[in-house]
């Protein structure tokens, strides 16, 4: 049972908070996955970490608003922000329109490249999505 509905590019890594991670030597580009957007909906506001911000894997680094919900942005890896995408901060719809391209959120310098091994590859994330959908079907009361 694999996910057929949401795009999961092969060349990226993924975490369980629905971020995609593109590794380029000791740097990473981070974005929100298509499945993450399915869960979140149309994004209205983004509060991204600024250049130089220290990131700790799994910790809150910013906020994201969709509908009338303010959710947290968490870091998939530990390191430091090199650049945040000003274009998506001023026009968050870009994330919904082009999640894996123009809609990237920030670039970071990795502190511990070994952490990458703890992320999922495309096959693993695909399977994880399918599990989440199945879980949702089983637990939703309405």
């Amino acid at each position: 049972m694999e996910n057929l509905q949401w795009q999961v590019p092969e060349d990226l890594y993924y975490d369980r908070n629905d971020y995609w991670v593109k590794i380029q030597r000791d740097e990473a580009v981070i974005g929100l996955t298509a499945f993450g957007q399915y869960n979140t909906g149309d994004i209205l506001y983004l509060e991204l970490p600024t250049e130089g911000t220290a990131l700790t894997r799994g910790k809150k680094i910013g906020s994201i608003e969709s509908g009338k919900w303010v959710g947290k942005l968490t870091a998939p890896l530990t390191g430091q922000v090199i650049e945040s995408n000003q274009k998506v901060e001023s026009n968050p719809h870009i994330v919904n329109q082009d999640a894996f391209g123009e809609g990237w959120l920030y670039r970071m310098l990795l502190q511990d490249p070994a952490e990458v091994a703890e992320l999922m590859n495309a096959t693993g994330y695909d399977r994880w999505i399918a599990e989440q959908i199945q879980k949702e079907k089983e637990t939703t009361v309405l």
């Binding site: 399915y38 979140t40 608003e65 959710g71 901060e89 637990t139």
Partner: protein, 361 residues
């Protein structure tokens, strides 16, 4: 066996107290210091609240509020500006872990469930209300409750307002809304977008009766038992610690996302079926229609369809192709009849307002 939740009624408090308590209870729940909780809240004195990411100066008529003693504060939850009358509304809130049994992970599904639980409470009061995506509860197309939420750690807060005996005039005066406030006809039509319990029922039930019915609705839909309880000593201590921040100008006026604006844009467009008047609150920087208000001398069947169109336009992109897509999808998916007015007439009226042109055909 259903689980037990705390039923907490904090009564009437200042805006800063209520906003601080949202953070305190949510933090306490995320740290497993308190049980899942339903909270009822009210405000005294009256206040206006902006959403977490909003800018006060773009959303609030500050001078009016200062002159009338209306407090201004910021929520930790999302959504738009709102006015809280002095005990003329009832706030309801739910605090629980995101992974609670029966709570959907997908936000839109979660909004629906939370709203359905409030609707069940309204039903006990004799009110037939329904869910209007994404976050509202309506009675015959008119909004009676707006909702929103946030999360800290693994716990969430979902909150809503219930208009009981609402002062629409003060709301209109205190907030920046998509209407020209000097035009009586516009104000009258705008008032028709909301409804309160007193108008639906023809009388206002005692507040305790309203709370009891709402609590029963939450308990029923969420399949939980509600046990009355107060704030814990830990929560009281956290409140003392958090309160100064929620009273500070840094919290109230500080900006989370600096790049935003909020302009009132209007246009009139003459179609075969009549004049379409569009008023928008527009964030030109971020290219977002924040809210829309559509009137005119055309006839729409059912009457509520224009209110539904306004609802789907809220927080959508203001770029022309997207506006066209939203309007076309609306007319494709709703049974709407407006003699002499085509979807493209609404699209053009909206684009004229967005672009600041006022062409007539």
């Amino acid at each position: 066996m259903s689980s037990s939740w705390r039923l907490l009624d904090t009564g009437s408090l200042s805006a800063a107290h209520n906003m601080a308590l949202d953070k305190v209870i949510l933090s306490a729940r995320s740290r497993n210091l308190v049980p899942n909780t339903v909270r009822f809240l009210q405000f005294s004195p009256q206040c206006v609240l902006v959403g977490y990411h909003q800018a006060v100066e773009l959303e609030v008529e500050e001078e009016y509020c200062r002159n009338k003693g209306i407090e201004i504060n910021r929520r930790i939850t999302g959504g738009g500006n709102l006015y809280w009358g002095d005990e003329s509304q009832l706030g309801w809130e739910l605090f629980a872990p995101r992974d609670s049994a029966g709570i959907p992970n997908r936000l839109e599904d979660m909004y629906r469930l939370m709203c359905e639980s409030a609707i069940a409470g309204l039903k006990r009061l004799g009110v037939t209300a329904s869910y209007r995506p994404a976050n509202d509860i309506e009675v015959n197309g008119r909004k009676i409750s707006g909702t929103g939420g946030t999360e800290i750690g693994d716990a969430f807060l979902y909150q809503g307002t219930l208009l009981t005996d609402f002062d629409v005039d003060t709301m209109i005066a205190s907030l920046k809304l998509p209407i020209k406030k000097l035009e009586d006809k516009q104000i009258k039509s705008f008032k028709n977008r909301v409804i309160d319990l007193k108008e639906v029922l023809g009388y206002l039930p005692p507040m305790q009766e309203i709370k009891k019915a709402m609590a029963e609705g939450f308990a029923d839909v969420l399949e939980v038992d509600l046990v009355p309880g107060g704030l814990t000593a830990a929560e009281q201590a956290m409140l003392e610690e958090e309160l100064p921040q929620f009273q500070s100008p840094e919290w109230i006026y500080g900006l989370r996302t600096p790049q935003q604006d909020n302009e009132l844009k209007r246009a009139e467009y003459k179609s075969t079926g009549g004049l379409i008047k569009v008023s928008l609150r527009l964030d030109q920087t971020r290219k977002v229609i924040k809210s829309a208000f559509i009137t005119g001398d055309f006839f729409a069947y059912p009457e509520r369809s224009i209110l539904d169109l306004e609802a789907v336009l809220k927080n959508t992109s203001s770029e022309a192709p997207k506006v066209q897509e939203v309007v076309n999808t609306f007319f494709d998916t709703h049974k709407v009849r407006i003699p002499g007015v085509k979807p493209e007439d609404f699209t053009q009226a909206l684009i004229n307002a967005i672009e600041g042109t006022n062409n007539e055909c």
